[in-house]
Amino acid sequence: MSRRSKEVSWKAFLREESLPHQWCAGCGYGVILKSMLYAFEKSGLAPKDVVVVTGIGCWGKADDYLYTNTVHVTHGRALPIATGIKVANPSLKVLALMGDGDSATIGGNHLIHSSRRNIDVTAIIANNLNYGMTGGQYSCTTPLDSRTSTSWYGDPEPALDICRLTETAGASFVARTTVYHVGTIERYILMALSHEGFSLVEVISPCPTYFGRYNKMPKAPIMLNWLKDKAISIERAKNLSEEELSGAIVTGVFADKKGHSFLSRYNEIQARAKKDLEGE
């Protein structure tokens, strides 16, 4: 269905001339990208109001396909760079697009401290359960015992739950869904975009080329069905034991708290400082 365009059409945010994109056949990133564009359309934002900061990774290539302001940075550092942009220019809508490796493995420290600071930035984490860009090595989100190009005998490290971690660290909007549950991606991103404070949407995405191939799911449809099977809504999850939840992908909104973003707090600091200066 072509989209109802009340505001700027989603196509205005898309660099169509850069298509076909460089993601593999069946990669979920195209779906996340499109959902984000839909959310942009609905948000009422114009391309010039939007700054997309991307890290390094397959998902980090998303900026190639965008007509917004784009900032393609170093691996793991999208969040502190987005922080600087937002603080210097609070009128902009600043997003940080990161893979799971980018955001939570190498970038884990920025993730927790951005959450704690409750900085007014939206993080969109595409979690393909491994490092796509560098050839399918395991990541901090790779399920325990999975096979990857660096865990031939199974990954000995348990996976990190990005949503629970960032919620604990203080992020005020946190939601997770999967590429299978395509409609919710747009919905959560839209909620994140209108949120004040740190907002994070994690989307579990199929990487048939690596994670899928190494784990007997070489084709995208198989992976999507796997995501469907693994997903449990957060409401349902509440009544399940840790054991029943093991290996599950819990989806839904983990946190949605209002007020006290970093910028609102810093406004107070500036007010106090100005008083201090006058009192000097």
Partner: protein
Amino acid sequence: MTGKIGFILGNEAIVEGALVSGATFFAGYPITPSSEIAERASRRLPQVGGYYLQMEDEIASIAAIIGASIGGAKAFTATSGPGFSLMQENIGLAVMAEVPCVIINVQRSGPSTGLATKPAQADIMQARWGRHGDHSIIAISPSTVQECFDLIIFAFNVAETYRCPVLFMADATVGHLREGCVLRSKDEVEIINRKRPPEGLDEYYPYKADEDLVPPMATLGGHYLSRFHSSSHNEKGLPTSSPEEAKDLIKRLYDKIEKNKDKIVKYKTFDVDGSDYLLIAFGGAVRAARQAALDAKKRGLKVGVLQLQTVWPFPAEYVCELAKDKKGVVVPEMNMGQIIGEVRKAVPDAIPVVGANRYDGEPLAPYEIMKALDEVLSL
């Protein structure tokens, strides 16, 4: 704060100078002996509507100032050796993405944790070569509290002019020195702001350079869409793997510094005309060098001093010009001998070049330079 004289720390003068430059954003992570910069910035910036961010580490700090600069602010950070080492990757990002910003390193004694409270000048080669990949870089070094103030303004100006990171290589002898300092006001100094693209372009190419090799930087959120990129990219800011485009980019980034050397290199000379010997120094070592030159004068020697306020790009031609008719050159440094390598490359083989070095955490003393001068005399 117009033109008033303060008796302040070098580190404090740096913050005051930055404020006069128009800096409104500092992000940092405390470290001795630079922490007074963070402390004063945290107090002063919100007073003027600016922001002090204390980040989770130095990587986040440099990242945040890069972001803030992209966002439109003049931004700076301050650190010392260990933090400077951590910042290297993203200094490279600022080089590649052409983001103006100022990184202050108040050098202390290394390697590693070293003598955390004691001065050194042993990160000056790191300033040049600390990150991967070919590029040139600008590094500026103050020797007085007044220069902390004046040269940080210059640092912001060149960063803005050339759309690049500028390394401000202070050291603990200057950062922790209190001296009288004229705190000039905005009207008393030249302030340069980044070049903006003209209005009304059909399409703005974020990496299309003007003749000065510097691309204008659009206001984020303004009329044009901006693109910044850490990979090899074309003029549009889109990634490219074309060898030609990659080469053109690297070459331009290098040339915009090297070919504008004239305007970037700042130095001072003391009694060099007609002198027989030359002392070449930067930063804190200049103080000892000038004292030594004075002491030498009392001994009847004619000794001039060249102070490199800009250390990188290194003014090899000028050093050669100045040194070529001297009987000898001494290079005093608070390290094992780093810039002396550049001096050696610049100066004809025939002229003896001797280092006066101290690397035990204590400030270099004039008598040590005198000793080196005696060595040159004996050659």
